[in-house]
Amino acid sequence: GDGEKFGLGRTATPDEVAAWDIDVRPDGKGLPEGHGTVAEGEVLFTDNCAACHGDFGEGVGRWPVLAGGQGTLKDDRPEKTVGSYWPYLSTVYDYVRRAMPFGNARSMTNDEVYALTAYILYLNDIVTDEDFELSKENFTSIHLPNEANFIEDGRAEEPFNERKAEPCMSNCKDSAVEITMRARILDVTPGRANDDEGAGAGSVD
């Protein structure tokens, strides 16, 4: 680093870095010391997580589903869970520690997060033994089933992105254009008269 220096800010202390540097990577970088079993995780999950995510990670109401859905990724309505979709276990540890339980983040100890992560593996049939203990040591030996299905951004190679031709300007379709679908039919627009028609479909993430 030999960019310009202004001499602003101050050196971060080791304690400060430790307090905030809690991210965990797939290669295990950032994992803290600790361990926890599926059985311990089950208790913790029931007490702290199940109200939203369901006893079996099936999700209550619109709260996120955490388990199941394997084999659904090509379906009309895929169910994307840790077991069916997530590529890396490190993300579970990292995310639960930083953001869960929703509304009381940063309240679980490192051991508790190991136990919860183990239990989420168990709910997804990735480990099957209730006595299984997840720890810093064995963590990177666990691989999630869908890891191989993540690919790089391929948008530049899509036909309409190849920039071979200027887009068509006239007589671009052989026959007159027909309407094939109307939002009115499944009108879920808030604040309209027929709001009680019920909820629409889709999610923002």
Binding site: A99, F150, F160, N161, A176, V177, T180, M181, A199, D205
Partner: protein
């Protein structure tokens, strides 16, 4: 036929009759209005109470991890007023006193640093206009026309002028080690939001911003500090920015694995799909902005943007994409910012199938909905930049439709 304008607005005097709104002295022409300082921080007219952000309640389980939408249909130009910039939170709006905020830089740097807001105000600043679009904008339309209004179909975008310090300046201050290839940006909110950003982008045009449209960031936009990642998906623009870690690998955080990856029809999922593709939408007429004035002169207006740079051209079709006319882009054309376009037409009063198609300076343009689905299926959620169709009916009402 155009006489007296739209019924919705007109005092409706008949031909040759005088309008009492003119011939009689009105109260506002006679009696004093409110004085200065009635509102030290001003607010819109009560007559504009309908111009607000709106959410879609069934979409999410809680308002703290949810989204609302910019009322694009009611706006013009390219600047979004701060109070109308859509919100997207994963743990609610962090309420942070600037004096209590800290920014840390750690990881593969010569010297880990902590900055106060006052420290950051001492670095050289820059001002830049950028759009911010959520990758999930138009995500609810993948499976077909669903929501009736561009506020809902396209309202997860806004465009403001930011003031801040280039991210490069701050990274240089800490000193990037030669193996530093990625930057993790982290928020101070209850979601501890994190995203991995490749170093090339971090050093190119990212900005650590503390002001938007001249004033302090709004709380819901990351007050007191947010990262700007121009042209790239909004989730990466980490709000309440408190930490930047330099590393040699991406972190594979929840928002770049479970979320913000694009599931294709074949079950594969694209990751690190950062750039927001060229996109446009006609904001008026649109379902929330029907034509009230009958046939004759009609202003067709919309927005276009591209994460690749400037918009070069916008074409508009009134026949569902058979024939296109190039629209007029008006106002500033900034790279990675909203562009405003207009097509001034003489409406004959018949049905229209209105579409717009943005073309950016690198030659990328918007695909049709069907072309996009043919490549990706319907499960991608993110990066739906396909061409939107509005059906304008003879009575001037407008519907969100899909066409052959």
């Amino acid at each position: 036929a155009a006489a007296f304008g739209g019924a919705a607005f007109s005092g409706a005097a008949g031909a040759g009759e005088s309008d009492p709104l003119i011939t009689e002295v009105q109260d506002w022409n006679r009696y004093l209005g409110a004085g200065v300082q009635a509102a030290p921080y001003g607010v819109p007219s009560a007559h504009e109470a309908h111009v607000v952000r709106r959410d879609v309640e069934w979409l999410t389980a809680s308002t703290e991890s949810s989204v609302n939408f910019t009322p694009l249909h009611a706006l013009d130009g390219i600047i979004t007023p701060n109070g109308l910039c859509f919100e997207r939170h994963h743990g609610g709006v962090a309420d942070i006193a600037p004096a209590d905020h800290r920014l840390m830089i750690n990881g593969l740097v010569d010297k880990p640093l902590v900055f106060t807001m006052a420290d950051l105000m001492r670095f050289p600043r820059e001002n830049r206009v950028y759009f911010l679009e959520c990758a999930a904008n138009s995500g609810m339309e993948w499976r077909g026309a669903q929501l009736n209004g561009c506020q809902y179909t396209h309202g997860m975008v806004h465009c403001v002028m930011y003031t801040g310090v280039p991210l490069k300046t701050l990274l240089d201050e800490a000193g990037i080690k030669t193996n530093g290839k990625w930057v993790l940006a982290e928020g101070a909110d209850a979601a501890g939001m994190t995203r991995s950003i490749p170093m090339e982008k971090a050093l190119d045009d990212c900005l650590v911003a503390f002001k938007m449209n001249g004033e302090a960031l709004r709380p819901e936009q990351g007050y007191p500090l947010r990262l700007c990642v121009p042209g790239w998906e909004g989730n990466m623009w980490v709000k309440w920015l408190r930490r930047l870690e330099v590393g040699d690998e991406p972190w594979q955080q929840r928002e770049e694995t479970s979320k913000y990856t694009d599931l294709l029809a074949n079950g594969k999922a694209r990751r690190f799909t950062w750039v927001m593709d060229p996109k446009s939408v006609i904001t008026s007429p649109s379902p929330q902005m029907p034509i009230a004035h009958g046939k004759g002169p009609l202003v067709v207006s919309g927005l276009a943007w591209s994460g690749n740079g400037r918009i070069k051209r916008v074409d508009v079709s009134i026949d569902g994409g058979r024939n296109w006319t190039t629209a007029r882009i008006d106002g500033p054309s900034f790279s990675k910012a909203l562009h405003r376009f207009y097509l001034d037409i003489d409406w004959d009063g018949s049905d229209l199938l209105l579409q717009s198609r943005a073309l950016d300076e690198h030659g990328f343009y918007q695909p049709t909905k069907n072309a996009l689905r043919a490549e990706r299926g319907e499960n991608s959620i993110y990066h739906n930049n396909s061409i939107q169709t509005w059906h304008v009916k003879e009575d001037g009402t407008v519907e969100n439709v899909e066409v052959s």
